[in-house]
Amino acid sequence: MGNVISEMLFIGQGLLVTLELLFGGLGIGITFGVLFSILRYKGIASILIQRLISLLRGTPLILQLSIVYFSTPAFLGFKLSILSAGILTFGLNSSAYIAEILRSGIENLNKGQFEAAKALDIPTFYMWKDIVLPQVLKNILPAMQSEVIALLKETALISTIGGLDVMRSAQMVSAEKFTYFLPLCIAGAYYYSLVLLIETLGKNLERRGSYA
């Protein structure tokens, strides 16, 4: 029993890296996702963004992570830390998916809402911030929830470049104790608990966002 607890504690230390990757990735993903989708809607650099999204969605994430981590020294002359490489890669990859989710949300919003804002002389920035995005965000909440869960699970790829996340910590325990089942189940339990937390949060947001 003491064994299980000490393994749980050790693997739990990886949560910090996993969560840093998740929140950092989400921060970059949402920022660029919103930017990409608005630019695309307005037809600014639309083809360039379309290609970039296609590329980010069309190549393996593990490949993108390897390129960012292993080949930046050759191009930029300095080495990114494992964590920054992870946050950057997961964030940019996620931004492609978030941009597509947002685009469908924006395209499904009644065009009359844009026109009503225009007829009331509402400046463009405020129209997006207060009229369009709040309605779009409410409509895309279920899809966004799936994206956050996918991102969380993808952060486990950081273990391939040596990041000390939940997955890698479990592998370390396995390597030391020559047993796989228990440490991997513990890692699984951590990931699944986080997913359940995200689902609960999502349900609460959906309830709060339903007007009337």
Partner: protein, 197 residues
Amino acid sequence: MLRIHELSIRFGSTLVLDGVSLAVEKASIVGLAGASGGGKSTLLRCIQGLEVPTLGTVHSEGNVGFMFQDFQLFPHMTVLQNLIYAPKLKGSTSYLEKAQLLLSTLGIEDKSNAFPQTLSGGQKQRVALARALMMNPEILLCDEPTSGLDASSIFEVVSLLKSINDEGVTMLIASHDRYFLKTISNRIVDLNKGKIV
């Protein structure tokens, strides 16, 4: 005063408006009649600037307000928020008093914290009207203000619009309901296949 000169607009290969000229005198109500697809909505949308005409000019003196056929209230805002959002951005200071006055004049002061989905068609109509009036328009464009309303609500819309017109607001009202237009307008203009007939 609203002056439209030789306005034409083409969507693809269809000429939706074909050289429309129209003058609406200050503080009058002009009804726009005609079959659907005749260009009524498009004319209003050109005046508001929601469509860019292919040819011709629109000259309006003063603010133009627009009432959409399907209201287009903001569903994530309460009735009061719908009214005050735009004037607040414009830096108006008396927007709250004005909103409350309008809501009570229109008989929906008890709905100020309700969301649009919970309102009846007639109530939504009044909120849409109030929201347009918050911007102090000198000219009000109404697109099918009676669509989806029952007879008694139509009667209310007529008296509401007339009372607003009494305060000097010029109106251009598009409707397929000629009887409604007769009861409210000083003059009716027929728009058919993009031309005034």
